[in-house]
């Protein structure tokens, strides 16, 4: 097996193993119903994480994801009040996400400021924007929300693939194509591997950097649209801290924060591992808030160690 598929394989093995352990612990856990729900519940964050995968592969980071999710929801809800169709406001927010990401990319590249800081300012700006628009939760009452939620494809067993999961899978496939089969995708890997070499080889730096963050902004805005439709509301605190979950999903999916190494495909499984953690805790039902935080941390630790161990042992076998 090619070495670059090792982390992805390890992530999938960990995911399946944990799904199996869940099945041993709880009745009815091993079903397409649970799987479909994990996909639907976490679709918005996985979508945002897919966009971030490009950013991280290029050696950068995007902290503005969570705020973007909240901001998109708040704007869509307020436009709904004045009679906009969610599709129209959603499309506008996708363009906004693209533009906002492009601006972040431009500042990062042109002014040579660290992505962590530029996108941290983006986080503050968008979250502050949410608070300036309104402080309460605003419902989205358009019938389209209901219609959107009722679309689904039945899976074998009791489960079904909800509309949000469908959007996520389409976005995921599109991202795989962009990353693996386009010149832009190759440029992203080149920049992440070694920025100077990439520039010397003739990679158009500014265009690619702007494109990377624009793509990240677009995907997080798409995550925000899905979240707003899924919860049928806009809440200014929505998505708080989701940037870290998204980044952790990318890393659990086998992408290195140092850049140049990783697969978009892995992010889906990384995000699903996080969904699985939440579902395992929910299935127990007796844990209080403090335990949920602690167990979340413990499971994160176990996953990371397990994944490292799997990758390490695979490598050893390959070498022998």
């Amino acid at each position: 097996m090619k070495e670059k598929y090792l982390p992805l394989t390890a992530t999938i093995v960990v995911f399946l193993a944990l799904f199996g352990i869940g099945g041993l612990l709880y009745n009815n856990f091993l079903s397409t119903l649970v799987l479909g729900d994990i996909l639907a519940d976490n679709a918005f964050i996985i979508i945002a994480a897919i966009g971030t995968t490009f950013v991280i592969i290029s050696g950068g980071i995007d902290l503005s994801i969570g705020s973007m999710i909240g901001f998109v929801g708040v704007v869509m809800a307020n436009l709904d009040v004045v009679g906009w169709h969610p599709l129209a406001s959603g499309a506008m927010m996708l363009v906004f996400g693209l533009g906002f990401g492009a601006l972040q990319g431009l500042i990062i590249d042109f002014c040579d400021i660290q992505p962590f800081i530029v996108t941290l300012a983006g986080l503050f700006l968008l979250r502050g924007g949410c608070f300036m628009i309104n402080l309460d939760s605003v419902p989205i009452r358009n019938d389209f929300v209901h219609d959107f939620a009722s679309v689904s494809i039945p899976l074998p067993g009791d489960g079904e693939l909800h509309s949000s999961a469908l959007v996520m899978l389409v976005a995921w496939l599109a991202a795989i194509v962009i990353a693996q089969f386009t010149r832009f995708g190759a440029n992203v890997y080149a920049i992440g591997g070694d920025k100077t070499s990439a520039a010397l080889m003739g990679v158009p730096m500014r265009r690619t950097m702007v494109g990377i963050y624009a793509l990240g902004g677009f995907y997080s805005a798409l995550g925000g649209v899905i979240y707003a439709l899924y919860t049928s509301s806009g809440y200014p605190l929505a998505g708080t801290g989701n940037e870290l979950t998204a980044i952790a999903s990318v890393v659990l999916g086998g992408t290195l924060l140092t850049g140049g190494v990783g697969l978009v495909a892995g992010t889906l499984f990384g995000g699903m591992i996080f969904g699985l953690i939440a579902t395992l805790i929910n299935f127990n039902g007796t844990l209080n808030g403090a335990w949920i935080m602690i167990i979340g941390g413990v499971l994160l630790f176990l996953f990371i160690v397990l994944q490292r161990f799997l990758v390490g042992s695979f490598r050893l076998r390959g070498a022998a």
Binding site: I113, Q114, I117, V118, L120, A121, L125, M132, A290
Partner: protein, 350 residues
């Protein structure tokens, strides 16, 4: 720079060159930002700079900025060290939560209060060891490694609170509250404590080889290792230092409200601390530690927060204004942006 005197060419050039050199110096822009913020405060309320004596201590808006900046600045000192090794520590807020919970727990258990300071530092040490173990021994990327404690730390704090009942227990301690809100000869005690921590850390970094080792590991860990530096041990020490300064910040922050409130104490302090380091010219790519500049960064952030609150703007605007000012400072620090701005200005003049 826009008011360049139009005298002879040579004079103008030397002036421009001096201005350019000044503009490129890292201390200028944070200092300028602080000056501008203070000046706007002065315009809003003319008695901003007045310092008077109330109940035997100095009192005034400027003192208040320094006073409130202490916890963030304390945390930011350790953060500067970790960032200097190309790392990052997201768990400082959680460390503060655990420290607050342990302090309250031990006071309720009846320990002597001086001992409790060691409990607090012990917690910081332990958390630093854990983070250091993950980063240095297990080679996990810092942002993910410290995310583990960030996620679970506040839960641990809540569990400690539950040990002896009570959700948000409070305490009274002359020693701890004195360290935080008291004063020694007009000067707030926490400023003295902070100065002490700063001097100790500065001496540790600049009068032993540790500072150079830390920066060399941050610059290039492999090269540092090949020159005979025990890179793992050095990385370990960075996270321990960060854990200890976070604990010190936690003692002050917790004594402020003399309550253990793990859910909300020190929320987002990791972001403020990282921002303070970056405004102070520290690069997340590692290799440099600027302790003094980091304090300046923390002051800029606190001055901004204080002035938004005192200016009567609704607090909802806080984040947006903070984002804009931080971006402004960073853009001005960027040579490319300065050149662009200069050329735009020059074109307009013509």
């Amino acid at each position: 720079m826009t008011q360049t005197p139009m005298t002879t060419n040579t004079k103008q050039f030397s002036f421009l060159a001096a201005a350019r050199a000044l503009a490129a110096h890292k201390v200028v822009w944070p200092l300028a930002a602080l000056a501008v913020i203070f000046f706007i405060d002065f315009l809003i309320s003319p008695n901003f700079f007045s310092i008077r004596m109330v109940e035997g201590r100095l009192f005034g808006s400027v003192i208040d900025v320094f006073y409130r900046a202490v916890p963030t600045a304390m945390v930011a000192l350790g953060m500067a060290v970790v960032i200097g090794t190309k790392g990052i520590d997201l768990s400082v807020g959680s460390i503060i939560a655990i420290v607050g919970a342990v302090i309250t727990w031990r006071i309720h258990a009846g320990d002597p209060h001086l001992l409790i300071l060691f409990w607090a530092l012990g917690v910081g040490l332990l958390c630093g060891l854990w983070n250091g173990f993950l980063v240095a021994a297990l080679d996990i990327q810092p942002i993910i490694a410290t995310l583990i404690l960030m996620v679970s730390g506040r839960g641990i704090g809540l569990m400690i609170n539950l040990l002896y009942g009570g959700t948000n227990p409070s305490y009274t301690s002359a020693l701890l509250q004195g360290l935080s809100t008291g004063h020694i000869a007009f000067i707030p005690t926490r400023l003295v404590v902070f100065l002490l921590v700063f001097v100790v850390l500065w001496a540790l970094l600049r009068h032993t080889a540790l500072g150079m080792f830390l920066e060399s590991v941050g610059g290039n860990a492999k090269a540092a290792y090949l020159t005979g530096i025990n890179a793992r041990l050095i990385t370990f020490s960075a996270y321990i230092i960060c854990g200890l300064t976070a604990a010190a910040g936690g003692v002050i922050l917790c004594a402020d409200t003399h309550t253990s409130d793990p859910v909300s104490i020190g929320r987002n302090i990791e972001l403020d601390a990282i921002l303070a380091v970056v405004i102070g010219g520290g690069s997340l790519a590692g290799g440099r530690i600027y302790l003094g500049m980091t304090i300046l960064g923390a002051l800029v952030i606190q001055a901004l927060t204080t002035s938004i609150l005192s200016s009567g703007l609704p607090p909802e605007y806080n984040l947006v204004v903070e984002a804009i000012v931080v971006m402004g400072v960073l853009l001005l620090q960027s040579a490319n942006f300065r050149n662009l701005a200069l050329s735009v200005l020059a074109r307009r003049k013509r």
